[in-house]
């Protein structure tokens, strides 16, 4: 018999796996940023499931992870904002949004100083 907590735990694991796959395989930075957010959601969901289960302290439902979760979400949000800001500046400066100089050169005709 599967408990609610383990269903959420398995979902969390699936999200982390999907996110890692995206982070490795997608060359575009924006997709990597999204993949980072998917992994983050997975970790937060896992934390929520742990809170629901009552963690190790034997409590019925543990409030501490929720406080930590909110902080974690704020940190992930700031990280995303910073990454998107850098990405926008990169696109403004070079006209491409690629992580490798060679790929950017190919797209812009190779003449530009990347």
């Amino acid at each position: 018999m599967m408990t609610v907590a383990s269903v959420f735990g398995l979902c969390a694991a699936a999200l982390i796996g999907l996110g890692l796959f995206g982070l490795i395989t997608h060359p575009q930075p924006l997709r990597k940023i999204l993949a980072f957010n998917v992994i983050g959601s997975g970790v937060f969901l896992l934390f929520g499931a742990i809170a629901y289960r009552g963690a190790g302290a034997g409590m019925a439902a543990d409030p501490v992870p929720q406080a930590l979760l909110i902080t974690g979400i704020v940190v992930a949000f700031s990280a995303t904002a910073l990454a998107v800001a850098v990405l926008l500046r990169l696109h403004e400066e070079t006209g491409s949004a690629s992580l490798t100089a060679e790929a950017a050169d190919k797209r812009s005709g190779g003449g530009q100083d990347a």
Partner: protein, 576 residues
Amino acid sequence: MTEPGTLSLVCAVLLPFLGVLAGLALGGRNVRAVALITILAGLAVVFSIALTFVQSAQPLTYLLGGWAPPLGIALRADGLSVTMMLAVAVVVAGIAAYAWRDFAPPAGDAGKRAPFMYWLLLLAVWGSLNLVFLSGDLFTLYVALELLTFAGVPLVCLDGRGETLRAALRYLLFALAGSLLYLLGAVLLYGAHGTLDIALLAGLVSPGPIAWTAAALMTVGLLAKTALFPLHIWLPPAHAGAPAAGSAVLSALVIKGSWFLVVRLWFDVMPGVITFSAAQLLAALGALAIVVGSVVALRQERLKLLVAYSTIAQIGYLFLMFPLAFDAGGTALVHGAALDAGVLQAVSHATAKAGMFMAAGLIYASLGHDRIADLAGIARAMPVTVLAFAVAGLALMGVVPSGAYLAKKLLLAAADGSGQWWWTLVLQGGAAFTAGYMVLVLANVLRRPAAPVVLLKRASRLSETAALALAACSLLLALAALGPVPGDLISNPLAPKELLSTLAVVICGGLLAFGMSRRSLLAERADGGFARRAMVAAGAAFERLDEFARRWTSASILLLALAGLFGWLMVQGAAG
């Protein structure tokens, strides 16, 4: 629980961030003065913490709001954190002196943003590092680590060129992947034990599937942020592209934050979970980093890239102490001589590498380029800068009486004591690799120039002095440690035995430099003999290995593979 005098722990974290806020409020023209006041006040706070710590001779603890863990959060200062805080405060002050002229507030109103941002980011890096050194629970450490990354990334792209923005984005994305692995490990530990407080966890964690998974995930996550080979994908472009005052912060300070967390995790949270074989793997990565980083450094044509690759090699040194820090039975990591040596290495690298990047930056600013092959005659034109570079190099090589020398002695004794002869080889051979790229640079700098050297601008006296002072700090570090360390570990630097060993290291390094550098140092006879051709081929092979490891796909797969490998080694160690 909370004794008087420990309030200064909060000040050490809060003060730099107050400086950031004050700088933001007061605007671009006053930000440098705000930074100066904050740094002076911060130095006073750190010294007072060190004094209190030495007097009370026990770790200082401050409970935020008077709440005790597991519900509350504690700040703790033990010997490790006090040492690192002192070193960081001194290096921050040195870097600030160096950057004083370069990042002067612009004259007009419509000035550039770079100076304004630089001082705020320097303070933010400092505050986050102090939080990393002081915080006593794994989640606060996660937040501190993220703050450190957020402060470090903009330093990479201060000048806003596309190339540096790309380097910053790569750095940010890879670091974020690392920190999520760390957070996942922390969450698993919370799920098993219901607390994240380091002192409480140390008593609860026992070898088992959860502890192994958490340890493996957190370790590789932190290694990605420290840029230990082969996870150094982001380091060379980021450190070489940033302005010199920024590179010095990134290379000397920022990577020490995540390294310190590995130390905390392995020594204080789960000393009994980490197995001997896992520590061997970690140090093997370190040894690989020394060889690959040094050889690729030899193959660079630009001075700042050479220094960036030498950072990769020096990061390797920081991980050599882990297998040497086990207790007699080889079952648990213990605080002892090996850990002292590791911290000493971190401090000596922080000071020397900051000095080295500063010197490289001065050369770049004065010449308008930093092509190693065209540096002839600089030694006469900029003697103090070149002296700073050379002194920093000697300190990194581990010449008496540098901190690296003392650390090497301590580690050699530990390797002898535990019969791990292979680390003796790495420790003795590593210096030759370091000597290699130093010889390469100095040979070019000391050459007679074809035409008189024209300097675009003179380096400021203050910057030159700051670079030299930090490099000298590193070279004289062993003298400062004379008190607590047995005196017989330090010998007279001019004794025949020491001179001979230094000479041997320099000759080996010279051979490497002559053999593997991209341009033959013997100028005209370009293709040379069979030996030179073989060594050039070997050098090129190392370069290809480095390029392969720095591709995004291979780096992220290596990240996961290493996590699996660490986990497997811990399972095996427990079964055997």
